[in-house]
Subunit: 455 residues, 2 copies
């Protein structure tokens, strides 16, 4: 038994320290392709703040890197292990500490699963909006670390907007409180927000105060078929320009539509170039859908299908939810990109991505959180074919270059991790990188927290 393991065991229950190499290897990766991962020395599963502090004190004393993990559903390699590291899995810290309807907050540990929290607050007539597509598995801690988004963002914003305060174990084991449990607060620099999206590189989030909203009325959706991406994106722009507030506004390109049909036999219209899905959770969603349907028709939609009730809405949204699995079935491997552009440039982004697919002779399906201009081009390839893999990686990068050229960002909601770290430098520029590295040194002077991520 190594010194590391012995010292970890001194402050952790026996079942919280996993050393079997096969077990440890199973904690090596999140769900990203093309991301290097090392072999952890040990996996720890603490259940208390004190145990997390013990892990960090031990790691600091022995100068061992620590990789924090939630459910490892991330798409950028941010949770990938490095060789000889301690994997610090927070999944056993999964208590909902408090739900308060008057203050509209929840206080949770990091391992609480997004869907578990969502259901618990719904029982009290409340709503925790962030809904990444992995919401049945992913944890709140992971959502905070990666600043997750989801379908709801066009109306309700991203995870960052729901994190009011944090408790964080620092690299040296000290405990930091940030933020507040009040509705407002401006006492000092906003450290809370600094941790959101920091991918475990600044500290270990062990508790979070989250803002909640009142539960909205049930959604009602419509689907609209368009003869071109440009027409669908023009409808998106008009919907937003006229001040509508859809609870989701999603676009699927023709490749995505056909893939979903192939997987599910849903019978979506294969002749459509772009399928737009809009939903409203307003007091009178039918009225909103009627107006938005009219905008779609005026923009050139060949068919507009509004749902009559929640069950029909759910059927329409299934198409969108099946897009990723459907595209993943086309070739043995996929890479999912996450470029977000100003919504006025959405058509340029999607059409440009189609041109990149042609250039590299690849299938790239695009689904998009259209209302936010956030596209998810899914590059389909065979990892066993070196040339196809090279083309996949190059096209993936070219999509990010296009996004930056259109005034966008390389990542709307999936984060940087290992996958996009060269690209982060390109987006931030040298001054931005220098300052970000400076901040990293303030919180983690020994560079032990999730090394090799972000920068």
């Amino acid at each position: 038994m190594t010194d590391l393991v012995a010292r970890l065991r001194a402050g952790l229950p026996a079942d919280a320290v996993l050393t079997d190499p096969g077990v440890a290897r199973s904690y090596a990766n999140d769900m990203a392709s093309f991301c290097a991962a090392g072999s952890p020395a040990v996996v720890v599963l603490p259940r208390t703040v004190e145990q997390v502090q013990h892990v960090m004190r031990t790691a600091t004393a022995l100068r061992v890197p620590v990789v924090p993990q939630g459910a490892r559903t991330g798409l950028s390699g941010a949770a990938n292990a490095s060789d000889g590291c301690v994997v610090l899995s927070l999944v056993k810290m999964d208590r909902i500490v408090e739900i308060n309807a008057v203050d509209r907050i929840a206080i949770v540990e990091p391992g609480v699963i997004n869907a578990v929290l969502s259901r618990a607050v719904a029982e009290q007539g409340l709503y925790y909006p962030p809904d990444p597509s992995s919401w049945e598995e992913c944890t709140i801690g992971g959502n905070i670390g990666t600043a997750s988004g989801g379908l709801c963002c066009v109306k309700y914003g991203v995870t960052a907007e729901y994190v009011l305060g944090l408790e964080v174990v620092l690299a040296d084991g000290r405990l930091l409180s940030t933020g507040r449990r009040t509705a407002k607060g401006v006492a000092g620099y906003d450290l809370t927000r600094l941790f959101v999206g920091s991918e475990g590189t600044l500290g270990i989030v062990v508790r979070a105060v989250l803002a909640l909203r009142p539960a909205p009325p049930e959604q009602l959706a419509l689907a609209a078929e368009f003869p071109s991406t440009a027409a669908a994106c023009a409808a998106v722009c008009t919907i937003m320009e006229r001040g509508h507030a859809p609870a989701l506004l999603e676009l699927m390109d023709r490749t995505s539509v056909r893939a979903v049909n192939a997987l599910t036999h849903m019978g979506l219209p294969e002749s459509t170039e772009a399928l737009l899905l809009a939903a409203f959770d307003t007091p009178d969603p039918s009225a909103d859908l009627a107006v938005v349907g009219q905008i779609c028709t005026e923009a050139g939609a060949t068919e507009v299908v509004p749902a009559d009730d929640a069950a029909e809405s759910e059927l329409l949204l299934q198409a969108r939810r099946q897009t990723l699995p459907a595209l993943e079935a086309i070739r043995p491997a996929t890479m999912i990109d996450d470029v977000c552009v100003p919504r006025s440039r959405l058509a340029d982004m999607i059409d440009g991505t189609a041109a990149i697919a042609d250039k590299y002779d690849l299938t790239i399906g695009v689904c998009a959180h259209a209302g936010d201009g956030n596209t998810h081009p899914v590059v389909c390839f065979d990892a066993a074919d070196p040339d196809e893999s090279r083309r996949a990686r190059e096209s993936f990068d070219e999509i990010m270059a296009l996004g930056l050229e259109l005034g966008g960002t390389i990542t709307g909601e999936h984060g940087v991790g290992v996958l996009k770290k060269e690209w982060l430098a390109r987006e931030l520029g040298p001054v931005g990188v220098e300052l970000q590295r400076g901040i990293k040194s303030v919180f983690d002077p020994l560079g032990l927290l999730n090394p090799g991520k972000l920068f």
Copy 2:
């Protein structure tokens, strides 16, 4: 002419460098009481980013402190000059660069006045919510520096939630871009948010990308009279607990009501212990007001007066808007506190403040953004009376101590500045202060930017 002035003049137009001691002195203070201010060596009023860079390069070369200023309407001394400093006033950089209804953003220079922007976006059917009470004078740059709030926050949140990206001149004159002009983005640490509320201690904001919303329907308001603070606060809690979304929810205590009557002869009900004002900008505000009026009655309101139209609403809201001037008329000087507590503790905060007023034999009127739990106790005193001044300062501090005890923060929206810097350390604790100082050193290693503020 000093070397400093000569070097500043080399890169600035003649009328952008003010050296007259009387003129310079007029830039020494913002609107806070009890805050030390020094004499600036020179005041500069740049019109371009390059000119700001020249100022910062010069200041760094000569190791001269720089105090950035907007309209100096702040309430914490954050814009107060220090001896021998360069006052860097951004008020001449007042261009609205772009308003984009499709992307729902505005791009502005820091000297744009809040009301000017609000009116400009309203002309395009858009809405910039943050509405500090100084909105007719204060600048967007100042709002960003102090993370301003306002009446709208209970529904629309604070300034921080509307800042998507920034251009910032650093202490050494280099230009930094942060954030994005897209709806979403998670590329690296959130430097944008770090600047919001940093009170000019990290860099000089020279451009901002702001999020806009669709213009809401016109507000309709009601006023409700309560026989006790506890009853009014119980109504506030029930309104929020049941999921209502008032566009404002304000409370005035008896002292405030009487002060407003004395100033304006409005004829507000002097027997009321707490006057609650609620407004809705929903599609059917009358219906919402009816429900909320019923909640008020059930909580013990002795009278509920809903407005029939926008003009009547405006009359009701005038009472709230006149509260500060009215309290300021009671004694020669005032200090306005800004404690924010969880809304479930609002009654404890307001009653506790009344007890503090009794203890120190002072008049302290309280108005509150009740829906946010954000109280503004206004301590009225005579600065020429040393004993009364001492009691004013002590009561002001005791109010903050009470706020912290109730799980709140020392500042919901006015910031720390000079006024509350000892209290910031108390709220953050030593670990928080150490990290915040570390961040400050990364951005401003020479300590030239707004020295003596925050810490």
